[in-house]
Symmetry: C2
Subunit: 227 residues, 2 copies
């Protein structure tokens, strides 16, 4: 059966990280290939599927092994199987996309792992530019109808921080009052009752994601947790 | 690499077919398994991936070989890879879903292929009940925001026929005037200038799908045709 096909699992990982000027930028970690084919090219983190793990478990493990990160959100993106996508034989790649929190995104130290701005990638190995483009499209589409932006932030956040996530990912400014109305109508985030600490006259309220509101389609087995 | 994993391609095929009373019902063709594992159980049409074909080409070929049908719409649904989903070894299944036209759906004659109402399936082989449930959810969700309902019909159709497709799939009645307004606002279908022939006083107008309006997200390579 299915002789001559290798099955791989790769992941497009998104985080918001500061650039040289301190501005937060939508960023992706890539891994430099240290062997043929396409040695020296940057590629998505991943590797061969493992017969003992689910595909999502493999994605989460490879993500952790390669980048030192864990995912706040992980979803299957697409299965890529064009016969010509690898020069060294047929490889079918099940691709996931993940969101990680900014503070965790500082942990990467391997010299063959580097962060790139999602909109300014070099020519990647294989069809990985195409894959990233599709993941960006999915992220931007999903951000507009599903409560996933909080996965870029810590457990609590201000509405201004949540709006900033939307503005960076969607690449446009949002009206603060409209944004507040939409978020409150969605009931996806709720006030914690706490405020930002510090000496400000009117410290902003802190919010948290309400896990009881399921607005995310994360595949057929969402309720069963990691697949 | 990826030793011990078989890669399969299967498809959930939807058509509207008349039941014994002549009422159109959302229906799915299934194939009776003629060998182990799970011999005698009904299963989704499919088979092993082929190293020389894209995944969508394999899905389209298996669909044609098994049912005698061709798809008016074909989209990747999900890649299922739970380690326990097959009792006879690890199988990862790339699953597609397809819409076929009612008149073509009469062609199936193989005694091991039969039509079932999508909402009244028996216990299927492997995790195929779960897969069909997810495909039904995707079909119903997508019908509400993408112009795919025409794929159940011929090249031209009346608005009443198009509304009937929505009512059957979504399992609820729709107000004719509201439906007409929504469809006309979407600009996904356009009048052909023709009318239904026959002796009626006010024969209904015929419409066709406007292929220049791309409302369907059919994966990362839509513009390149079949993947």
């Amino acid at each position: 059966m299915s002789t001559g096909i290798d099955l791989a699992v790769s992941t497009v990982i998104f985080a918001l990280r500061p650039d040289a000027d301190g501005r937060l930028v939508l960023s992706i970690p890539l891994v430099r290939r240290t062997r043929a084919p396409q040695e020296g090219h940057w590629a998505l983190p991943g590797g061969s599927a493992d017969a003992r793990e689910s595909l999502a478990e493999t994605a989460a493990r490879k993500l952790a092994e390669t980048t030192g990160l864990s995912a706040a959100y992980l979803e299957q993106l697409y299965c890529f199987g064009d016969p010509e996508r690898s020069p060294s034989g047929r490889v079918v790649s099940v691709v996931y996309w993940a969101l990680v929190r900014g503070e965790e995104a500082e942990l990467v130290t391997d010299e063959n792992v580097a962060w790139f701005a999602a909109d300014e990638l070099p020519r990647l190995a294989f069809d990985h530019n195409l894959i990233v483009d599709y993941a960006l499209w999915r992220l931007r589409t999903k951000l507009e109808y599903a409560a996933i932006a909080h996965a870029f932030l810590g457990p609590t956040f201000t509405l201004a921080e949540l709006r900033q996530v939307h503005e960076i990912v969607l690449q446009r400014e949002l009206d603060p009052a409209n944004f507040r109305r939409q978020i409150e109508a969605s009931r996806a985030v709720v006030p914690t009752g706490e405020h930002v600490t510090g000496g400000r006259h009117r410290p902003p309220r802190l919010y948290r994601y309400d896990a009881s509101v399921e607005l995310v389609d994360n595949g057929p087995l969402t309720s069963a947790g990691v697949r």
